[in-house]
């Protein structure tokens, strides 16, 4: 294996986002013809690295050498022409077109007169499918395929563009066991054809099954690169988590007393994604939900907020079984949700700050059906001051505010409604460090008022800092519950990546 040269060398890549160093001097080398696995916990920088590879992002510093050529830093199409194909988790197929059309959509074979040679499109696609032993008909529309077949269509698309290197981002996450088996077979076939593959997955056992070598990233840094045969699962988890507990601030490791009063309880709750969820939320408690992306964290919040129906089990509010049918219902029961995607779900970007702030509590300001703007202005100004929201005026269109300030507006929205249970999904995603600290402080203040919070986050440090209890989820199930008095970062990370508690 030493004889084979490197097909890809990403040298000393650094990438900074506002407030975060996503990649710090990372060097990543892939040998020609190997299956190279890339792993790391949430936020370790895998996706960022791959987006730099496909030129979706441009690196701050460092260089990329592919096929013995230094690549210029821009142009996703150019990278594709060089032979780098990235298959993202969200597939980019046209559902209403046929498999063949999708496969050749970027480079239709044409006659001399410029018309597309459809016979060749179909024939070549079918040959490609047959050569990989895929049971796919080139003339089927993509919408009639299952998820696994769509993934394979993406792979064919990459091959049709003469890709030399294919990146697969979490290819197995949506696949059934049998579909996964097919994928493994296809990967080994591709390898025989001399195609290099970068394989990203959360599922550790897969890495040993398909991978030749494994590179581990943590917190935007390169940690190790090893041959798969020389590693075992425990090594991997150790590399992924690091044993670094010093980052937890001592003043926050104190357990703050939580009342015995249970405000929300889920009993054996199933909702299609989550199975048998049991959790109790006490008055004044901050409860964290941790798990890898796709482990069913947000779905629990959705069920509590009435946007995902509960199929089995029950939801109890203050000891009474309650059926929450819709968001309106949830709000009447004094539950609030700051959704994961601020811009798409949390805000009406075209409206002003005050209008977003008062969106939930607006009926309260209507006297005899007439909205009293004086009261709204007074209350919005008060929240603007209290939460230190930086905006020229409450009449400013919210699109113009920074992420942190937008998030504060969303929090104000629920504070103005006086809710008792607040659900926060990724409350600090894409927010700079200063605003993060302010939001942590705010979360603690809210809990001291006797309100209860459930926080979903991909940043474990964040949960360790603010939460009283953390539940760890894996594949829709609870695998571990841990109290602040005995937080153990390694244990939590291990549970979240392996799906079992130690």
């Amino acid at each position: 294996m030493e004889k084979a040269g490197y097909i890809l060398e990403m040298r000393n890549i650094t990438k900074t986002f506002p407030g975060v160093k996503a990649l710090d001097d990372v060097t990543f080398k892939v040998k020609a013809g190997e299956v190279h696995c890339l792993i790391g916990a949430n936020g370790a920088g895998k996706s960022t690295l791959m987006k730099i590879l496909s030129a979706v992002y441009s690196e701050d510093s460092g260089e990329i050498c592919f096929d013995s050529k230094i690549l210029p830093s821009q142009g996703t199409q150019k990278r594709r022409n060089e032979g780098i194909a990235v298959i993202y988790q969200e597939l980019s197929l046209f559902n209403e077109l046929t498999v063949a059309e999708n496969v050749y959509v970027n480079n239709y074979p044409k006659f001399k007169n410029g018309a597309i040679d459809w016979k060749k499109v179909c024939r070549d696609t079918q040959n490609l499918a047959d050569s990989l032993n895929l049971k796919i008909n080139a003339k089927d529309t993509v919408s009639s395929l299952n998820i696994g077949q769509r993934q394979l269509t993406e792979i064919m698309k990459a091959l049709a563009c003469d890709a030399k290197l294919i990146v697969m981002d979490e290819p197995s996450s949506a696949l059934s066991q049998s579909e996964y088996k097919i994928l493994v077979k296809v990967i080994s076939d591709l390898k025989k054809k001399g195609i290099t593959i970068i394989y990203i997955s959360h599922h550790l056992e897969e890495l040993f099954e398909v991978g030749d070598r494994i590179t581990i990233l943590r917190d935007g840094k390169f940690i190790a690169c090893q041959e798969a045969g020389k590693l075992n699962e425990d090594n991997l988890v150790e590399y992924m988590t690091g044993i670094d507990l010093t980052q937890i601030h001592t003043e926050e490791t104190q357990v703050h007393p939580v009342s015995d009063e249970v405000v929300l309880e889920l009993k054996d709750m199933c909702n299609g994604i989550n199975q048998d969820i049991n959790l109790k939320l006490h008055k004044g408690e901050i409860l964290g939900l941790y798990g890898l992306v796709g482990s069913g964290r947000s779905e629990i919040l959705e069920s509590v907020f009435g946007t995902r129906s509960i199929r089995e089990g029950s939801l109890m509010l203050h000891g009474k079984a309650t059926d929450i049918k819709n968001t309106h219902n949830a709000i009447r029961h004094k539950i609030g949700l700051a959704p994961e995607n601020r811009k798409d779900q949390g805000l009406v970007l075209s409206l002003s700050v005050w209008e977003n702030m008062s969106m939930v509590s607006l009926p309260r300001f209507a006297k005899k059906g007439r909205i009293c703007y004086k009261d709204i202005n007074a209350e919005c100004e008060a929240h603007k001051t209290r939460l230190n929201i930086k905006t020229p005026s409450i009449n400013t269109v919210i699109r113009n505010l920074s992420g942190g300030n937008q998030q504060k507006v969303i929090l104000s929205k629920w504070l103005m409604q006086d809710c008792k249970i607040l659900l926060l999904d990724e409350p600090t995603q894409g927010i700079d460090v200063m605003a993060k600290e302010e939001i942590y402080k705010l979360i603690r203040e809210i809990s001291e008022l006797g309100k209860s919070l459930i926080i979903v986050s991909s940043e474990l440090q964040e949960l360790l800092r603010v939460c009283d209890n953390i539940h760890i989820l894996y594949d829709g199930r609870q695998v571990l519950k841990i109290n602040k008095s005995n937080y153990n970062q390694e244990q939590i990370l291990h549970a979240s990546v392996s799906g079992r508690a130690i």
């Binding site: 009406v348 909205i371 113009n400």
Partner: protein, 322 residues
């Protein structure tokens, strides 16, 4: 630099008023009869019924929808009311006729609204279907014949004048514009339309009854179109099954000229009032100068493009600054 930006914000805010002024000045120069009280009152009267329809359109455009059925609903409602007024004599007939016309048109709006909000049909298609259905129903009532011989009392409602000068319909248009401007500004329902049109999911996650209010906007649209239909029948003293043909497109144009965005969340009935007025000025001046109506349509198209370009030009400059 600072002055420059302020100027642009000013331009954006008042682009419609500026367009109106420009066209009034041009029209005054072209015809001495344009800027006279009589012509002005005439203009108001002519714009009033399309104006009421345009209010209806603005409501649905605000929530990110569109209602192509307004013209046909106008005709059907006018036919229903005319039939009742013709067959039931006295003031009772007029009252029953009004109620019947309004109920039928609201139900049509309700039906369109439900198709979109509950059954996820695209607004364009659902209202296109209703446009065909309502037009067919209007023609069916009398096999396509107009209803003549309506009572003078009925005619006086939409055809009457205050002080022999100001048309009743013009007053109704102005009052309805003010009423709906207040509803949009001062009621929870009114504000919810902006939220729904701006971001449906965020509105839903904020506890706004999105489906109900979406449907309600269509009910109001049907109701207003139906009311406009009754006024038309009353003004012409005739139930005309082909009335309101093409009104939906004029109403969309007026809403958009008035600052509404077809993707929702943006718009105002006051702006729409200005939009209707601007389009009416163009028709008016072409008539005064005596040019064939073919030119009118070309000019109308040009105005729509001009108004939007002006709007876009200013707002895109602003986003670039950011």
């Amino acid at each position: 630099m600072m002055k420059n930006i302020n100027f642009k914000i000013l331009l954006q805010k008042y682009s419609l008023i500026m367009l109106l002024i420009i066209f009034i000045v041009i029209s005054t120069a072209l015809s001495p009869n344009f800027l006279t009280p009589n012509n002005f009152l005439n203009l108001l009267q002519q714009a009033s019924i399309p104006g009421v329809v345009a209010i209806a359109m603005t409501l649905v455009v605000l929530i990110g929808g569109i209602d192509l059925s307004v013209g046909s609903v106008l005709a059907f409602s006018g036919m229903i009311t005319s039939m009742v007024v013709l067959n039931v004599s006295g003031p009772g007939g007029i009252i029953i006729g009004f109620i019947a016309g309004l109920i039928v048109s609201s139900l049509m709006g309700l039906f369109t609204g439900l198709l979109i909000s509950r059954f996820q049909l695209p607004a364009f298609i659902a209202s296109l279907a209703m446009m065909e259905i309502a037009r067919g129903a209007a023609l069916l009532t009398t096999s396509g014949n107009p209803v003549f011989g309506l009572s003078t009392e009925f005619n006086r409602i939409g055809g009457g004048f205050i002080f022999d000068k100001l048309a009743n319909t013009a007053v109704i248009w102005i009052v309805l514009t003010i009423v709906f401007a207040l509803i949009l500004k001062y009621t929870v329902f009114g504000r919810s339309l902006f939220a729904i049109g701006g971001n449906y999911e965020a509105a839903m996650l904020s506890g706004i009854k999105t489906k109900r209010n979406y449907t309600l906007a269509y009910v109001l649209s049907g109701l207003l179109a139906g009311f406009a239909g009754i006024l038309t029948a009353s003004w012409m003293s005739t139930g005309q099954p082909t009335a309101g043909n093409g009104y939906e497109l004029d109403a969309i144009a007026a809403s958009v000229i008035g600052g509404a965005s077809l993707s929702g969340g943006k718009g105002s009935v006051i702006g729409t009032f200005g939009g209707v007025f601007l389009l009416q000025i163009i028709t008016n001046i072409f008539n005064l100068v005596g040019l064939p109506s073919y030119y009118q349509r070309i000019a109308k198209g040009a105005i729509i493009v001009l108004a939007l370009l002006l709007n876009n030009f200013v707002s895109s400059e602003k986003t670039k600054k950011k």
